[in-house]
């Protein structure tokens, strides 16, 4: 970060007071408490969740709308632009750390806890017949759940792990190509070729949506035919949490790409000032890279 000493020849833009953030927080509070009530069997939580979600959506919509209009009226110059860029990089780093937690859990279970469960002295373990292998859905046994409820966990007998070279490989192709198309769109923007920009973004959005459809098909197949569920032991837990959070990020990324597409059609962004576009593109590449990690460690190896 070298430009500290450069001459800031204009004013830094400090926005006027706004009510979006505080209302947004209120929405989050409502959504979170509603969710807690719902999963603890207080049905009224559902209505709180709906209310919270509506508040959040409307705030995000207005807040982003405000930022877009500021951007279009030329409030942001290179000084602000750099703030946004550095901020986006830091934000994506925090997302990396979030995924790292789930990858860490996967490696821990695969390398440490599953082998350990199989290697206790047979005289002292209730998991005598358990063989260490991966994918594993665990030895089974009694589990004390939330609120002290005792549940006996029996690993599914007909369990099959997800193979890498079917739909997941197609998904890899889809996401990798979407990385290419979004870069191609960026080149279009830089060259001031608006058609290339719009077509590139459109293709990227289409690829993102196709990815989501494939993933939904895959999940459906897993649940209905493969005995692979969220409750399928170490493998099921890590499989669905990792791919699920990733899919959620693809969904968010796709929505952001759609916004960027609409803005491009409206004529927003210039060849030399388009942080909105680049921020979303960076995010999309990040989602792409996470997928490669998933493909290798969750599906393939």
């Amino acid at each position: 970060m070298s430009s500290q000493t450069h001459n800031h020849s204009h004013h830094y833009y400090v926005p006027n007071p706004v009510a979006y953030p505080v209302i947004l927080s209120l929405g989050l509070l409502t959504l979170a408490s509603g969710f807690i009530f719902k999963i603890n069997n207080y049905p009224a939580g559902r209505w709180m969740m709906i209310a919270g979600a509506l508040i959040i959506l409307s705030m995000v919509f207005s807040w982003m709308g405000k930022v877009i209009s500021e951007s279009e009226t030329g409030m942001f110059k290179s000084w602000e632009d750099k703030s946004f860029r550095v901020g986006m990089i830091v934000f994506i780093s925090s997302e990396v750390a979030f995924f790292a937690a789930f990858f860490g859990a996967l490696f821990f279970m695969r390398v440490i806890s599953v082998p350990e469960l199989a290697h206790f002295d047979p005289n002292y373990t209730m998991y005598k017949d358990f063989v260490a292998s991966w994918p594993s859905i665990g030895p089974g046994g009694n589990v004390i759940r939330f609120g002290g409820a005792l549940e006996t966990y029996k690993p599914a007998a007909n369990f099959t792990p997800m193979a890498a070279w079917g739909l997941p490989a197609v998904n890899t192709l889809l996401l990798l190509s979407s990385g290419v198309t979004v870069t191609w769109a960026h080149w279009g923007l830089i060259k001031n070729n608006r058609n290339q920009l719009i077509i590139g973004l459109f293709l990227t959005v289409a690829l993102g949506i196709s990815f989501l459809i494939c993933q939904a098909t895959e999940y459906h197949h897993a649940y209905t035919e493969m005995g692979l569920t969220l409750g399928a032991g170490a493998y099921g837990s890590s499989f669905f949490m990792l791919t699920g959070f990733h899919g959620f990020h693809v969904l968010l990324g796709t929505i952001m790409l759609i916004v960027i597409l609409i803005r491009s059609i409206k004529g927003h962004f210039t060849a030399d000032r388009h942080f909105g576009f680049e921020g979303v593109a960076w995010y999309w590449h990040f989602v792409d890279v996470v997928w490669l990690g998933l493909f290798v460690f969750v599906y393939w190896l």
């Binding site: 001459n7 004013h11 509070l29 999963i39 939330f146 609120g147 002290g148 890590s238």
Partner: protein
Amino acid sequence: MSNATAVHHDAHDAHPTGIMRWLTTTNHKDIGTMYLTFSLIMFLVGGSMILGVRAELFKPGLQLMRPEFFNQLIGVHALVMIFAALMPAATGFANWMLPLQIGAPDMALPRLNNWGFWLLPPAAILLTLPFTLALFGIGDGAVATGWTMYAPLSVQGGIGVDFAIFSVHLLGISSVLGSINVIVTILNMRAPGMTLMKMPMFAWGWLITAFLLIATIPVLAGAVTMLLTDRHFGTHFFDAAGGGDPILFQHLFWFFGHPEVYILLLPVWGFMPQILQTFSRKPMYGYKAQVYSLWAIGALSVVVWAHHFFTVGMPVPALLYFMYSTMSISLPLAVLFYCWIATIWKGSLSFETPMLFAVGWIILFGIGGLTGLVLADVAADAQYHHSYFVVAHFHYTLFAGGIMGIMAGVYYWLPKMTGHMYNEKLGKIHFWLTAISFNMTFIPQFFLGLAGMPRRIPDYALQFAEFNMISSIAAFALGLSQLLFVYNIIMCVRGGKKATDKVWEGAQGLEWTLPSPPPYHSFTEQPTIK
């Protein structure tokens, strides 16, 4: 070189007043004030909770409360103190002082800054709401697992755990936003000419803090998310029957938890040398050595986490690795101590309240560090682990090293922030009462721990009675002394002797070049640093 006016508003001077000013503000000083006020309130809330605990521990046997409620008080006390008192205090200072110290017009991302603060009250509500809900027959109270929320206890716990999980999520978002803001502000908003190695130490402390937060808070978020799905959606991350492992939770938690202790302290290590140099009237000793040590500690802090569960059953090589890596943190920490002491060495000292707190802080935090070294010894830790010795250790680091450090900062900057001098005499009394009752509270706990009293129990064996009684009495004295602090702050906000711009004779740094209190827009013209 730049003489540009550095602040610019969209439609000019549309500033709401009253409550709306605070709800909607994008001004770094307003937001800093809200953080600091919130922190003070939550400090009192968390303090009252633990006084309930100390009252129960006043004598053996169960007197005042059910053990379940006792556990809830302990866990919520810790979460409140760490996430709602200490961290917001540091962020409050960052908001107030970073722009002033680096000559910036404001924080870089003012609206996110506002959001970062306004996530905190909802988080505090989520954390404490279950206490109230229980009164209406909903659930069985707040989280009762201790702040560490270890599985499987937390998998089996009641609705309070769910509230704590989402509270942690909101706190986490707030910390990430705060960190983004700090990093961007420091990297992009410094006055022309202020190179990184000319930055005030406080900016260094906070920059590294922010990096640590970005690296570790999301891991905690991941861990509690797994906890949530283990509780309600059938996953088996922490459950051997499915091939998972409760110890996995400990790894994830402490991967965050150990850096967290430095997250709490690095901001203090940042501004403390500034206080020391002010009241020693000489330049800070070893600026570069301090910066490198802060980096070294930051880097080491993410690779030592398993020293928090040496006794859980780990392979010997792992034990050795975590022991030596933990102990190696003492090296850069010793460099810092050396620099702090060398800064006051042969200075022309005066002992106003901030300096009293600063010197007391060096000594008491030193005890915290040394006892940490003892705990880092695998063989010794087998005896100390989960005993009151650990409790005493981390209160020397967190209350003395953290809270008392923050208090030094409050007295140091209060005149700058309010434009008035606080009552010096009351400040000194506050220091002595705090220092004495703090030691009286926690020295007995070292001995209780050595004698074998476990932590987190509402009842204990008879031989521990006397020391617990001393500790409880002193804890109430400690709690009551803080009312002086609150009184002094309130009086200082409302009036008092007018503070000069420089406030302290030996003060150095950009914040002292502005009037006290500084104008609404700090540096409308960025200063140039040579």
